[in-house]
Amino acid sequence: MTAGEKKEYWRWQENCWIDESKNWRDAKIITAGIDVGSVSSQAVICVDGELYGFNSMRTGNNSPDSATNAINGVLEKSGMKLEDVTYVIGTGYGRVNVPFAHKAITEIACHARGANYMGGNTIRTILDMGGQDCKAIHCDEKGKVTNFLMNDKCAAGTGRGMEVIADLMQIPIAELGPRSFEVDEEPEAVSSTCVVFAKSEALGLLKAGYSKNKVIAAYCQAMAERVVSLIERIGVENDFFITGGIAKNPGVVKRIEKLLGTKAAETKYDSQIAGALGAALFGYTLMQKQGASAKAA
């Protein structure tokens, strides 16, 4: 970093991965899910209903370009072409702006389906902590939504809120969670109704002599309290699963678990791909129903 260059503390790590043990050329049905969110975009490719690869990156200022960049990343890594993909489903905030998608499905249904794959068919309650909204979802053993609720009116309790705090504290976003535990005692939560108020309050606490870690702990607690009040409206039934970028922040996850009195199910997959994965799985089911005859089209 050169002098005068601003460090982007909020920038989370983009990720592209493919399963080297699978050969997509052997697959009968290849489907893709594109989740264009307000903060991040993911492309997931499934071969015969199994996760093959994904790309997770920041959403730009243009949804079609974000969708194209996301899918190109995973296509290039796998040596696949877009024409090799049988069916594409768009989801997320920019789902209707995915130029190569055959169909759009809401992120609520896709997250439930993705969580069902990632956490198993015992998952009943899902908390999706997205970039600029938060969703509480109930689903059945097949990952079909039975109850949902979302809050997208403000950024409090969302990934964007955490990015704001990372920038304010000048601490890389991935370190916020672990550092929130490095406090002598758990502080009171800051304002949880508005990110702007929370930021003002955090500044006030710093001036009052709070350590950065203590302010981060107060913010993590506020975020946990906010989403717990949301999820309690629909009720928590085990197993419980968290999707979205905030699932990677132990400072928030552990506090949510403490407030709910239940532990979130763990997964070996990247929690941010749940929506795109669900979309790809919807595509697979659809293709199975149609006998995969749409490949030529």
Binding site: A109, F148, R233, F282
Partner: protein, 94 residues
């Protein structure tokens, strides 16, 4: 499926819940469409290809204000939307 449309903000929780399982075999002739004085409801095809009622996107963040006229202070003793929906699919959280 119970679909909750609305939000929570500093002033409270404002959600309209729709039990969409009751919409698929609606016996009220889609009365929600005309029952709401503001025309806040629409019929959509959901992700599972069922035709169900939903709150229009443009109203989902302003329910506290949009529904005020239909609350007791507005002279109503029961909500027009809930009354029109005889299968009982529509409920307000506040």
């Amino acid at each position: 499926m119970i679909a909750n449309y609305g939000y929570k903000d500093g002033s409270g929780e404002y959600y309209i819940s729709i039990d969409t399982d009751k919409c698929t075999s609606c016996t009220a002739g889609r009365a929600c469409l005309t029952g709401c004085p503001k025309g806040m409801f629409e019929i959509i095809t959901d992700d599972y290809d069922d035709e169900v009622a939903a709150v229009k996107q443009s109203f989902r963040r302003t329910l506290a204000f949009d529904c005020t006229g239909c609350k007791p202070a507005g002279g109503y003793t029961s909500l027009p939307c809930s009354t029109a929906c005889t299968p009982g699919a529509i409920k307000h959280s506040w």
